[in-house]
């Protein structure tokens, strides 16, 4: 019941691949749904779009979330924020949530903890693990990914078979 949210303006991005990998490694199975926010299109610019509403419902039904963004201007993308703006304060109701950002180099490594996580907390996420930043060219093999997974895994609700 892990849902992945990806805020990369390019569909089927490396951000998405990384987030799916992380969701799988965290929960032991593929995510039940992936919201590639770019697919929601211009409906994100207003309120009440049915595709956006459906994506929101998928998120609200998750028992854990991986929310991933590439780094644009030293923080998350405007595209991801458009989607997060559709949620009310506290609406996530404490769903365990893992903020993840990918970037070209280490210099933005503080961005997920200092900028993405507070937005997720504002809409009701519980972020019990440190936020994760990965250099995009080597995300799958980064030693920090393995270390992070070790510590984050214990916060994922057990899967009932």
């Amino acid at each position: 019941m892990t849902v992945v949210v990806v805020g990369n303006p390019k569909p089927m991005s490396r951000t998405r691949a990384a987030a799916e990998l992380i969701a799988h490694e965290l929960s032991g199975r593929a995510p039940t749904a992936v919201i590639d926010v770019v697919d929601l299109g211009a409906g994100l610019l207003g309120w009440g779009d049915p595709k956006v509403a459906e994506a929101k419902a998928t998120v609200l039904g998750a028992d854990s979330l991986v929310v991933a963004s590439p780094t644009f201007k030293a923080t998350y993308t405007g595209l991801l924020k458009l989607f997060l703006d559709q949620f009310g304060q506290g609406e996530l109701g404490g769903i365990p949530t893992f903020p993840v950002m990918l970037g070209a180099g280490l210099q933005h490594a503080l961005a997920p903890e200092l900028t993405l996580r507070p937005v997720l907390v504002e809409i009701g996420a519980s972020c019990p693990a440190p936020s994760l930043y990965l250099v995009d060219s080597e995300y799958a093999t980064a030693p920090e990914l393995a270390i992070w997974l070790e510590s984050a895994r214990k916060f994922v609700p057990a899967v009932t078979p």
Copy 2:
């Protein structure tokens, strides 16, 4: 030559009125242009849209900027960030820039300094004054506006008549 950028999903918003007032008070004349980002529409979701390019050119030609957003999820809007994501790192080349946010209550007063300003600095803004936060129901009469204008005004380039 002050340009105003407004990131409220509602056109002709109170955010816009406040930003125009501030630009006028800072420079002694009405802003030369107002970019109400919502007018740019779905072109913001990609790259290379001609209306977006024109708006960018207007911003890059300014000699000072007021960049204003309502507070969504304790920070600037996704809509504003979509537009800022269109700029390259350092592209503003040091234009004096005044970050402004309006919100329903005082509890988000740190948001412009801690969240909006770093994005503007990343795209090359010089932000010599403290960032400004105003409670939206009383922005025009807030005593902190007058105090802020006093200190911010000295950073606005003198108008050549």
Copy 3:
């Protein structure tokens, strides 16, 4: 087994009283220890002081932490940071930790989430609940305290009798 850490330069401060109340309300019993950082004195300015080492050991033995600071210059105090600087990266090993700040007015309400929590996460805290900010003149009766306790309580390890 809840330990309280207080970073107010005034001993026996309102910050301390608030943190003790919160620890009690969270866990159903008085905190097992209170570190009033000011009591550690000049030993905080170096490394290896025995009183500081003892305080660190108390913190590391906790099964939950309330870390509280008054708001100085829109963030936590230098005094609290002196103590936190004594910990290594990740040293807390995931202890559930609740960042709390008190301030004179609502305008610094974002400070605990945006400034204190990242420091605690860096030294290994797990912060599953939103950070808490209280206006100091009315902390005990603030409705947001009751609401916050409701949501935070579920992250406190059950007390074995």
Copy 4:
């Protein structure tokens, strides 16, 4: 009239050497004073210490400031914050101020802009240039130092001979 403030618990640190170099490069002459905060000792833990008062007066008499810290727990040191806590809100009255942090690696590069600068702004600094982060092992030869100096230099008040 550039004053340097250094918040490294080790006296005569690399942080200090870097800050002095930067002050010299910015203004074309050696700083008029260097406050190595660690020299102020235990007087920093209270209020009204004469050495601290003298250091404050030196800072308040500057016409530009370089404020430098090593990176501890992904942000400035508690030692530096102790000194900054001695200033009132807005007390610097708009002195052009350059926040600088040194760290072991690039992963904390966002710390000066996101964490140190807001504290300086709160006590009245004007920070017109981007905040500077340098990897400590190579600070003097880092290409980003030369680029940063180019853009920051124009904000330093001209020296009257």
